[in-house]
Every structure is written in C-alpha cells, then in structure tokens.
Amino acid sequence: MSNPAMREAYGKALADYGAVNPAVVALDADTSSSTLSSYFASRFPTRFFNVGIAEPCMVDMSAGLALGGMLPFVNAFAALVALRALEQIRTCICYNRANVKIAASYAGVSDFKDGPTHHAITDIAIMRSLPEMTVIVPADAGEAAAFVKLIAEYDGPVYLRLNRSATQAVSQPDDNLQIGRGIVRRPGSDVTIIACGSMAGRSLQAADILAGRGVDACVLDMHTVKPLDNELILKMAGETGGVVTAEEHTVIGGLGSAVAELLAQEMPVPQACVGIKDTFACTGPDPETIMDAYGLGVRDIADAALKVMEKKIK
C-alpha cells in the first residue's frame, strides 16, 4: 500500500470535506501548490481565497470569515504562519474564539531543502501557549486526513501541524481517532515513549531495538498536544515508572514540556526529552538525515529510554 505525503492526504481530505460542508472556505498565501490547498481551490474556486504573500492579512481575514459564520481553513507554511502571523492568531482568532482551522504545512524539518527559515521547530511551543488553541500533530497521512473532519466538527481554533512529506505509517483503520485521546500504538511495561508526528513511527522502531535489549517499551501516539490526554499519560507513567517524549521540534516548550508539566505536578517519574536541542537545524538532503543529525534518530529515542531505565532502577 502506498504511503502518501501528509500534505497530499490533507489536501485531498479538505477538498472531499468541502463537498460535504458548504460552510468550509480555504485561504492560502501564494503557497497553494505547495500546501496542496490547490485541490480544494480547483473544486471550489468561489470558496477559495489566495491572498498573495500576506500571512497576517490572511489570518485576520479568516477570523472575519469565521465570525461571519463560515468555517475557514487557513493554509500556509507552518514556520511562516505561526511566527509572522502570531499576534493575529492570538488576538483575532484565539481572543475572539473564532472558529478557524490553521493547517500548518511543511512543519518540523520536513521542508528540509529550504533551511532554517522554512523549518518550524518552535511552533508547537508557541501555539500551545495560546489560550483557546487546540494543537494537533498527526503522526501520518492517515491521521492527517482523518483529522480534517474531526477538527471541522470541533467548535474552536485548531492548529493542525502537517509534514510536507510522508512519515512512517502508524495509523490503523480501527483507530477511533478523537481529539484529545492518545493512542497506544504498542503496549509495554518497562518505559513509556510518548511521541507526536513523525516521531511516532520512529518510536515504534526504537521500541523494537529496546525489545532486543530486553526492555518492553510502550509507545503512545500523542497526536493531540493540547489538550493533553492526562489520563492515559498518568496511567502509563504509573504502570511503567519512566517516560520518554519524542517530537520533531525543539525540546523547549513542546510535547516534552507539556508532559513534564503534567508529571512534575501529578506523578514525578524519570523523564527524557528527545527533540532538537535549542539550535537551528540546517539545510539537508532529506528530512531523515536532518533528524538523525539533530538528535531525533531512532537510536536517540532508544538511548533516552535506556537512560530513563537506569534512573528508574536507582
């Protein structure tokens, strides 16, 4: 079975959902042929607005459309919309609780070839800190497509973080995907790896390595970073006594921080955070090479789990 790029799955799902729900409108900032909002644009030309290279204007327009009763999907590169239009997102989307869905494409280092201005490695931290914002980081194309309908039917601002490329497929037909409910991708009793986005697949690979070392790792697909699935995390942290988080993002403020905030207050257990270590990444030949070079390798996840295991024993 082919595993499409996440943006491809999203773009097609948005166009399909547009046929179901006439309130859906889409906006893009001169990147529709990259984000693939172009699928929606060609099917529903009168419900698509290309605002040119003007992300802040696009975000505030989407707020107006939502306040006028439409259901806008904002499409842009994650790094550019989350940063350039941040204040607009905070004030006009979140503060109005405008029903806008931000589809933030090319996230993480998935726009590998264009370098740090085009990498989004701080967006989870930023978006997570905004009141009213829901933050979703699908693990693969299947989840990306399925979330289109789910977030459309949820009333409130959503940041949907999408990769440019394909990530390792982890989703299953019977997932029963729900906003705010993590998924156990692999049961395990020794340590819990909590991952989002492309790192879910990598964490499953790490769990295989760990199995070879006699460590039985549980892997959670934490597609919703906010609101966090506290119940599932506390349950598994309690059962395994140690946690690793893994995200294609800086270690500051993202999934790792969200989990640490929870555990520190409710159930302190040893934790290690796998993520980019407070640095800009660089241009690379593909996302995987960059990820391996910046501490997001399968080995890095496994090593982090082993470290947590040591701390547990002490």
Partner: protein
C-alpha cells in the same frame, strides 16, 4: 561605461546563470526562476556599482546588499564566488549536509552575505535600519535591497515604504525584480500590484523603471539613484522569470524546481 565593459559584464552574467543552473541541478532543489531573473541586476551591483572588497567581507565602509527575496540565494552565491569571497567549488555544495551555502541565505555561514533571509517581506525594513546606522555613523556607504514583486504582497514592505521617505533615506535603494510571477501563478492573477510604480510614488519614493536585463540601463539607474538626495529610490526592474533558459522563461513551474539532467544540459547549452 564602454561597450567592451558592458560586453564583459554580460559574459559574467551568463557565467553566473550557468552556475545557478549547475548548482541547483546538483542540489536537486532550489529556485531557478527568480535567480535567473535577478542575474543581470546582481551582476551590475557586484561587478560594477557596489563598493566592496571580497578580501574584507566585514569592511565597515562597504556598500550593503540585502537579498530580501532570499530564495534567489543561488545567484548571490554565484556572484560572491565569482568575486572571490569563497572558492568556486563551494557552489557544488549548495543545500548539501554541512554546507556553508544553505537553501536560503545565512549571514553567519557565508562570507559576503550581509543578512539572513528566506521569509519574505523583511529585507526593506532591515535595509532601513542599516541606512539609519550609516547616517548615525556619518558613513557614506549605500544600501541596496532586492525584492521580489510577489514579495510586495507583504504588508511589512509598505510599512517600510512609508518610513524611508519620512527619514529622507537617500542612502537606500530598493530594486524590485518585477518578473510578473510568484509561487502560485502570475502576480496579475494572484494579487495584482498595479499601478505599481505609482504606489511607490504616492509613498514619496523617487521611482525609476528600467529593463532589468539591460546591463547598461541597470548600471545607469543605480548610479543615478546614488546621486539622488533627500529621497530613497526604488528601481522597478522589468524582468523575465527564468531569463536566459527558453523553457524556464515565464514558466511558473521553475519557480522552485530543479532542472533534471536533460533540462540541465539543455539549459547550459543555451547559456554557453
């Protein structure tokens, strides 16, 4: 400027265009269209107009160049290498792991790059800061900012456009690479900019309109711009995206796509 000089500069521009094609082809990704449309402007700046010294990239009295449309990095890299800021062999490393030539300009890695860019719409504001710094320091260096036409969709460009004449920044020259294409299509279809020159005029800029592929015209305009006092100057350079390679000219497909092997050979032949 003699015909002979112009001829040499045209040859240089053609060489830089070949470098752009080779480096993007080897990298397997990049933005040929906007690099080629800016080739003659960048050639005029680096090989005739600007005061700079490749041996001293941090020389305090050098003229500054800001490539606000940072995706055209290959043409700047080609010019800097040809000037001698770094070895020509570096061009083969574009976008490769560990390279000093990132996909978009990085001022901390590449000798001769004054400002990092890649997120559109910001260069003119940075240029204003540099122009103010020059005035405060009583230095006579000049700041050149190259913008894309699609880039002018960004509101921040017009915030900067409002500021510069208010502060009479006559040491600042903006050049717009008016090639009529952006990422998704033509500027006419995506976001019509017209009447473009009049927009700048109404913001109190001195406006010049030129053929952005006529090196003599470019040099003449840039030199005139330097002499204008009490006003910043914008040069609207009418260009062709992909200029010099027949199948890339006016073709939005080559905004951000590398040529394949056959296309590379054909392009290099046309630019020979």
């Amino acid at each position: 400027m003699t015909d002979n000089n112009i001829n040499n500069l045209e040859n240089t521009a053609r060489k830089l265009r070949r470098d752009v094609i080779s480096m993007i082809s080897k990298a397997g990704s990049g933005h040929p269209g906007g690099s080629l449309s800016a080739a003659d402007i960048v050639t005029a700046l680096y090989f005739s107009v600007m005061r700079h010294d490749p041996k001293k990239p941090h020389w305090p009295d050098r003229d500054r160049f800001i490539l606000s449309k940072g995706h055209a990095a290959p043409i700047l890299y080609a010019a800097l290498a040809e000037c001698g800021y770094f070895p020509l062999e570096w061009l083969d490393t574009l976008r490769k792991a560990g390279t000093c030539l990132q996909g978009h300009t990085d001022s901390t890695l590449t000798p001769g790059v004054d400002v990092s860019a890649g997120s559109l719409g910001q260069g003119l504001s940075v240029g204003i800061g540099m122009a103010l710094a020059a005035k405060l320091d009583r230095k006579d260096y000049h700041i050149y900012v190259l913008l894309g036409d699609g880039e002018c969709d960004e509101g921040q460009v017009w915030e900067a456009a409002m500021f510069a004449p208010n502060y009479k920044l006559d040491n600042l020259t903006a050049i717009v690479d008016y090639n009529g294409l952006q990422l998704d299509g033509t500027t006419k279809d995506i976001m019509n900019l017209e009447p473009f020159a009049n927009k700048w005029r109404s913001f109190n800029w001195e406006v010049m309109e030129i053929d952005g592929h006529d090196i003599a015209q470019i040099i003449d305009a840039l030199n005139k711009a330097k002499k204008v006092t009490a006003h910043p100057v914008v040069i609207v350079a009418h260009t062709v995206k992909g200029k010099g390679v027949s199948f890339m000219e006016n073709n939005v497909d080559f905004h951000g796509k590398a040529p394949n092997k056959a296309e590379t050979e054909l392009a290099l032949k046309e630019l020979a």
